[in-house]
């Protein structure tokens, strides 16, 4: 197996990615390709190591993997405040193209996304059905607006514990509705991201998927995408279910 971190371009911006190749690729192309679409903001950071382990396990099973940072996240260009759900979908499609360029024996890839990344992966698959072999969703967000409310509540609760004071959640929502950006965990949530999340629902995304879909509920794992007592290095249940599905051969 090999791991190659590198930057790739999208227009005049650069995205950071890591290409995981299975061992023995000199004998022929890998079994399949997988593009990993990450969760949003701090959920991305908390789940980072799980994605690293997943990519390594997929590579051990013969898959070529590209995990990458969307613009506005991680080591990629652009401020978080300037990134949108739409830009994340564009990034996922570019990542898929880059994986296929680096693995010329492959023609399509599997999109795997976690939390908000599942919606990104689903939209990418819908926009480029010719690229999408399958879609795997890890704990997809049923409703973007519920997700945002939970994020706000969690951030405000942390603030209250640390300082003894925090703004009212309703005031933050009002500010977003009035077109102002609000800080959450250090990220500027913009009115545009707020609107995109408000319109986000998982059920229609699955119905519109142009390829086989495996959705795995998050309850089968401890919430490794949030701060808990442990730094989660793997998501064994989600990984095994994904691998079983892939080993069975997606039709």
């Amino acid at each position: 197996m090999s791991e190659t971190p590198f930057f790739f371009e999208l227009g005049d911006e650069r995205l950071y990615g890591v290409h995981h190749r299975p061992a023995g690729c000199s004998d022929g192309p890998p079994r399949r390709g997988v593009v990993l679409c990450h969760a949003l903001a701090e959920e991305k950071l908390w789940s980072h190591r799980v994605y690293v382990s997943l990519a390594r396990e997929l590579a051990r099973e013969g898959f070529a993997v590209l995990r990458f940072d969307c613009r506005g996240e991680g080591d990629s260009d652009r401020d978080f405040e300037d990134a949108t759900l739409a830009s994340r979908v564009e990034d996922a499609l570019r990542a898929a193209a880059v994986l296929l360029e680096r693995e010329p024996g492959l023609r399509r890839c599997i999109f795997l996304g976690h939390r908000l990344g599942a919606a990104v992966a689903a939209r990418a698959a819908r926009q480029a059905p010719q690229l999408a072999e399958a879609l795997i969703a890890w704990d997809p967000l049923e409703s973007g607006s519920v997700y945002l409310m939970q994020w706000l509540r969690s951030a405000l609760a942390s603030q209250m514990v640390a300082t003894g004071r925090a703004p009212n959640r309703a005031l933050l929502v009002k500010a977003l509705e009035e077109g102002r950006t609000v800080p959450v965990d250090g990220y500027g949530v913009t009115p545009r991201l707020y609107r995109e999340l408000a319109e986000l629902h998982w059920a229609p995304l699955v119905q519109a998927a142009p390829c086989p879909v495996l959705a795995i509920e998050g309850a089968c794992e401890p919430p490794f995408w949030r701060q808990t007592q442990r730094m989660h290095m793997r998501a064994p249940a989600m990984t095994e279910r994904s691998l079983q599905w892939l080993r069975a051969g997606v039709q």
């Binding site: 690293v52 800080p183 250090g186 442990r230 730094m231």
Partner: protein
Amino acid sequence: MSSSVVSLRNSRGHAVHCILEEPAAGAAGARFAALLLCSGVKTRVAPHRLYRKLAGPFLARGIPVLRVDFAGLGDSEGEWPDTSLDAIYGLTERGHCVDDVRSAFDWLEARRGIRRFIAGGLCGAAVTALHVATRDPRLAALYAIGLPATYLGSGAKPELTSHELRLHRMRYLRKLLAPSAWLRFLSMKSDYRLMLRMAGEALRLRKPAKAAPGAAAGGAARDLNPYVPLGLFAMLASGCPALVMFGEDDPLRYGFEERFMQAHGSALEQHKALFSYAVVAGANHILGEPGAVSEANRLTALWLDALLAEKPASSVLGWSLPARGAPRRRSPAA
């Protein structure tokens, strides 16, 4: 400015993946390189990509910035022996990641010809840099944000700081009108020791004038991480400057002030030209509020200008020892 991926090997053979940001003129010949180290477990970008935002003042002064993923974190190879957060923080507290920093020094020295380094970052990153200070003379300056001063390694519950007591007091005051809280009070299940301490602290806080600056801080000082004075005074004694910044609302600020600054006040006064201390108004531990990063970068720029001009930073970042229980302080004026 350009950024590139750097993959180096630590002494255990793990690939340690970093991002090197170089100023427009390149890094070769720079007097210093800055290393921003993993803060706890949040990889080389840190919470809300803080390290990308903090790189600006360094790059603007021709100082390249290397953001480092320690082995077992971020994209790097390797594993931690125990993955509970307490264990990771405890290992970091005891210098688990020093080798990776020294490997990064080696890489920068071999590939860019830089021999002097500014190292640190947020929280545990600053603790790691203090360990490096005791082991590697190439460390030229400490850059610390939200430096934890409390020692967790003993496993014992640390003494509460005045800030923590104040938070508890606010919580209890809010409960005064709740019948269920009174029922609990009468059930003998309440923490009466904590209540007494809060009451005592409240009475003492009303008399700040009697608190002697520099006096030992009592119970809280017993929980000081010994590596904080060890590393910091090792640096200062060898003429290396240190910048320590906290968000005003960072609970760790009180730990640093009460456990370290008050207990070591006279020694710090002797190194006032080298030790810079600043509080970013209205900011939390991760500098997450609007304007906090800009303010931190303004302070960093002042400090770097003094460092590069070989002037005492105290001329631009003056500070005084915090009095016990003093709740608010502001950043040095622009």
